[in-house]
């Protein structure tokens, strides 16, 4: 088992004819993901490395049976593309695009919440990888193998760093889910941790958070009340100054809110062990799984 993406995934990529869209759609296909369609309005009828291109997401659902969408269009078109995918009946939307205006994200989030069947992961995220099954996004899949550790993270490269440390110690992953670094992520830590809790293959959950917002604190409460599997956490940004956006739009300490220390303390208070470095986090995982 795994979460969100697997061999049943039938992916449509919006923005597939762009340089990045073509590159990553092709990578995902080469990994073994069923990439059944791409969408670029006005370019319907073309194909990209054997992937048929349609004018609308609805057409890709009707004609190619797409059930998952990956959003790869530029920021100014991304909110529209996400809403189009939801309207076409897509149930899992993975938005890679970085730089979407926050008010667009707010409108999209509020609209999608009205349909509990639709799940958005991202935006500004590296996507989802279920090793050996499917890769949707830009995670460098070759570093990871199938296994029992579920990873959920706000950051891309930090996920690879922690994942690689786990891999060096012999661990594989059920799934790796990047929820993204924006202020209004479509899926939260809680949403993904709930999936891992219910996934029989996942035996340990690693969550990687960072400064800004209160998603880690909320996850701490949720874990204490609902999660029986061990959870190990890492938080980035202990040395980040107040009031500066550290790369990710959502990574900002405002006054005393959103600090790494407060997040680590909230998690530890609920029995979640927090590594001070990516290496220590992998070591904690190793200790718990007894390898």
């Amino acid at each position: 088992m795994s979460v969100l993406v697997d061999r049943e995934t039938r992916l449509v990529v919006t923005g597939i004819t762009g340089r990045e869209g073509t590159f990553h759609a092709t990578n995902n296909k080469n990994y073994g993901t069923q990439v059944v369609a791409g969408v670029t309005p006005g370019k319907g009828g073309q194909d990209v490395n054997g992937i048929p291109v349609f004018n609308t997401v609805a057409e890709s659902v009707d004609k190619a049976g797409a059930n998952t969408a990956m959003i790869f269009v530029p920021p100014r078109f991304a909110a529209d593309s996400i809403l189009e995918a939801a309207d076409a009946g897509i149930r899992l939307i993975v938005a890679i695009t970085e730089g979407i205006p926050a008010h667009d994200e707010l409108r999209v989030y509020t609209q999608l919440k009205r349909n509990p069947d639709v799940r958005l992961v991202g935006p500004n995220c590296p996507g989802i990888l279920s090793p050996g099954k499917a890769s949707v996004g830009i995670i460098p899949a070759s570093f990871f193998k199938q296994g029992n550790v579920g990873v959920v993270s706000r950051s891309g490269t930090l996920t690879y760093q922690i994942g690689n440390e786990l891999a060096q110690r012999g661990f594989g992953n059920s799934s790796i889910v990047g929820i993204g670094g924006d202020p209004v992520p479509g899926s939260s830590f809680i949403d993904v941790i709930e999936l891992f809790q219910n996934d029989p293959e996942t035996e340990l959950i690693v969550m990687s958070g960072e400064i800004g917002g209160s998603a880690e604190e909320e996850a701490a409460e949720y874990i204490a009340a609902n999660v029986t599997k061990p959870v190990v956490a890492y938080i980035a940004g202990f040395t980040a100054p107040e009031g500066k956006t550290m790369g990710h739009a959502g990574a900002i300490v405002s006054g005393t809110a959103g600090t790494a220390r407060a997040k680590a303390e909230a998690l530890e208070a609920k029995g979640v062990r927090v590594g001070r470095t990516p290496t220590e986090t992998a070591e904690l995982a190793m200790e718990i799984l007894g390898k």
Binding site: P101, H103, L106, R107, I138, N164, Y234, T239, T245, A251
Partner: protein
């Protein structure tokens, strides 16, 4: 992006929100001319992106031309908590009967705009919220519905606003909300929102933060960015399209991906060092971006050693190595470098570096080892 007070007021004025008449000035002559035009008494206000201006002596009431000259001379060039005052705002003195507080915050946790109102304006609102939470009326607005008139009344009654002001204050909140949405703000705060002797509602202050990601839709706001207020390295990085934040330490940092760079700063801190900057070279960085980044990092005279921490995903380690080699050809750095390359094409990248045999460049295989090496080098200044 944070706006100066007067920029916020000009933004308010465009949306029909009453603000005192005023003019910005960068020199004493311009300030006095503005004061003459506006009339006395008038207020001379330092324009800096930091709170506590009044306590620092950056806000003064001038009753005549001599005082206006004196205060403009004192305030221009003044240092307020590390921010130099380059500009003052001269505005007509207001007749204040009441000082209220109003704000709209992009509430990430609730995923909705949060509108707040209190009759206890003019003071630290966090203190009000802590000591007398009932004095701060709060309401979340459904972003797809928008702010309704009844929301305004609900907040005004909850805050204990006098009956004759319920509608005018509600109308003010409605205009602030419209501004928040139209300009795509992350924060709008008015403290104080005043009631004049004539019972008019006026925004006497304006604290506005705009969403940097939406500026392409607001060219007029994009022009408000004030390069003179920025640190020289941050300005240089901005012009080159790099994500850079200046910090206080002496170890220059370059990494790929915001989370990994933040983590690198922490690991350097744990090793006993202190980072000079945050620099995310981004995904898929090519060698020219690396050259550009090295130039920005080294333009900070405090930097005594530099750490490259790369975990290659889309970014290829050989491209990073090429960039560093090119940078050495162009700028001949005098401080030591520690380079950690892991991930995509790491073997090729390390070989390129070994073959180039750059002076003062050490390599490391793990993040922790790299951090320890660079901290030691920042102290001694020589690579092993």
């Amino acid at each position: 992006m944070d706006l100066l007070e007067y920029q916020g007021k000009q933004l308010f004025a465009r949306h029909g929100i009453p603000v005192p008449t005023g003019k910005p000035a960068k020199t004493v002559e311009d300030a006095v001319a503005a004061a003459d035009e506006i009339g006395y008494p008038c207020v001379v206000k330092a324009q800096v992106l930091i709170g506590g201006r009044g306590k620092a002596g950056g806000v003064k009431l001038a009753k005549d031309r001599a005082e206006a000259t004196q205060y403009a001379t004192d305030i221009l060039g003044m240092d307020i908590k590390g921010f130099t005052v380059h500009e003052v705002w001269i505005e007509g003195a207001s007749q204040i009967a009441e000082e209220y507080y109003a704000s709209i915050v992009f509430d990430r946790a609730a995923k909705a705009p949060l509108v707040m109102l209190s009759t206890q304006g003019g003071m630290d609102i966090e203190e009000v919220a802590e000591k007398t939470p009932e004095a701060l009326a709060r309401l979340h607005v459904d972003p797809l519905l928008g702010f309704q008139d009844f929301h305004g009344r609900k907040l005004a009654f909850a805050a204990g606003i006098p009956a004759d002001l319920i509608r005018p204050v509600g109308a003010m909140l409605s205009k602030l909300y419209a501004t928040f949405v139209a300009e795509e703000a992350m924060l709008i705060e008015v403290n104080p929102l005043i009631i004049t002797a004539d019972r008019d509602v006026v925004a006497l202050d304006a604290k506005v933060t705009l969403d940097g990601n939406s500026l392409y839709r607001h060219p007029q706001n994009a022009e408000l960015r004030d390069p003179s207020a920025e640190d020289p390295q941050e300005q240089m990085a901005h012009e080159r399209g790099l994500t850079y934040v200046k910090l206080d330490g002496d170890i220059g940092i370059l990494g790929n991906g915001a989370g990994l760079v933040m983590s690198t700063l922490d690991v350097v801190g744990l090793a006993g060092g202190s980072a000079a900057n945050f620099l995310d070279a981004g995904g898929g960085s090519k060698s020219d971006a690396i050259v550009s980044a090295v130039e920005v990092i080294l333009s900070d005279p405090k930097v005594r050693a530099v750490l490259f921490n790369i975990f290659g995903g889309i970014t290829r380690c050989d491209e990073v190595a090429k960039g560093l080699i090119e940078a050495y050809g162009i700028i001949n750095p005098t401080v030591p470098f520690v380079v950690r390359l892991d991930g995509t094409n790491d073997v090729e990248g390390r070989k390129l570096l070994a073959d180039a045999n750059l002076p003062n460049v050490a390599t490391a295989t793990t993040m922790n080892e790299a951090a320890e090496k660079v901290v030691a080098l920042a102290k001694t200044g020589v690579a092993a």
